[in-house]
Subunit: 260 residues, 2 copies
């Protein structure tokens, strides 16, 4: 692999440049990219130019740079996330119509929940999840559902690290987390009033394909006494989506797929 | 930029590897990637290994390779497509509920329409569009809408190249295409019975942000006499989405955005 004088590969630097962009920084100058990626300006400018040539980045009217449509296309069209999202969208739309609050879909990625879809409405209760955003497993209702059904080694690793606390309600110690995970497996859903924000309650259920939990479907609703009964429509939507995934297994497969 | 003995940059080879994956080939062996990317097996294996290390690719249980969740995350979270998709999904859901056929959203990318969202239902009429898929501008209803509102130089380039014909109804010559584009601008929508498949009618309307056409919203419905009246709910949905984009301009901006 070709390497810079610092021994870093071209690919590492390309990923650092892509990583400079995010939901709050969708458009950056070359010098801002260079700062955020911790790369020399000349190196950044040269790589950005080549990435623009491939459509991975694009220049806007004011010579600033954003992620290119081609990058999105390469990532999306063969993504394992695509089938899951496509299957889930109808059920998320139904849930959104019936419940009237934000709904999101998350998958386990590394030691975090990665949100792959979200439907929301203007005026919905505060909801910090975003498509392509992440949250710690122990802090969010979707993360807790995924953790409760994760392989034993993932569970053991997560419960032992110091748990970041976002509010007075966030689960902050190993014993409480183990108890909560057992309760989620028993009860079939996670119910998290104020765990991320005092005004919001997260509720989440597992989405299964052929018995295996492949995602968590969640609601973010107000933190008041209207929240609890909403676990029922959410459970129904989760079961309906799980049935659809089992009936049409080609729509999602994180483990194996079609060979050339 | 680091180059191989053939003079090709690392980035070019990485893009060729990503390009080997598609909707019909989401999972590939290293040797299949090497064939499809026209790269030596050893080079492919080395690059694939490094790309897996960065999460751009992932290995499945049978040592085959797919696009990684990290690739999706890097592309999606700062994508200019994201805001548009997010804004459009609610209106597409409403349209899908009212009309009961497939609906999709396309943007102009190069000389093609790139489909960035799609809602469909089991049993819907044949629809070859896919998320991340592309169609020629002159052949599809969404492409015609985008072409009708594209810059003059794009229109002049497209109408002069030989036009690929998919059915007896596809627009195949320059004069017919120019007439159709003028009619779409006058009438406000494209109506394409049998242009892509004899059994399907495509209908599409422009989606505007502050007067500028940023996308095409479309329906694919049966090619019979039920098709024509469906331009009205589609037009309503397109106007509603355009109003939402203008009211909340931060949700989409293909031209410029927030600097660091």
């Amino acid at each position: 692999m070709a390497r810079s004088p610092s021994g870093e590969s071209v690919l590492t630097r390309v990923v650092r440049i892509l990583d400079a962009f995010g939901p709050d920084t969708p458009v950056l100058t070359v010098s801002a990219i260079s700062r955020r990626a911790a790369l020399p300006v000349a190196t950044t400018a040269r790589l950005v130019r080549e990435m623009i040539g491939h459509g991975l980045l694009a220049r806007d009217g004011r010579r600033r740079v954003r992620i290119g449509t081609r990058m999105w296309e390469l990532a999306e069209r063969a993504s394992p996330v695509l089938g899951l999202r496509q299957a889930a969208l109808q059920y998320m739309g139904d849930l959104h119509a019936v419940v009237g609050h934000s709904t999101q879909l998350g998958v386990l990625d590394g030691d975090e929940v990665l949100f792959v879809e979200r439907l929301t409405a203007p005026g919905a209760v505060v909801n910090i999840t975003r498509i392509g955003g992440r949250l710690p497993l122990h802090a969010s209702s979707g993360g807790l559902v995924l953790l409760a059904h994760a392989p034993a080694e993932v569970q053991e690793r997560i419960v032992r690290v110091p748990l970041t606390v976002l509010t007075t309600q966030t689960i902050g110690d190993e014993r409480a987390l183990r108890t909560e995970l057992a309760e989620i497996r028993r009860r079939g859903f996670a119910f998290c009033p104020g765990h991320i924000h005092p005004d919001a309650t997260g509720i989440a259920v597992p989405v299964r394909q052929n018995g295996e939990v492949v995602a968590a479907l969640g609601l973010v609703v107000p933190n008041d006494d209207t929240a609890w009964p909403l676990h029922r429509p959410l459970q129904l939507a989760g079961l309906a989506l799980s049935r659809a995934l089992c009936a049409d297994p080609v729509t999602i497969d994180f483990r194996e797929g079609q060979a050339d």
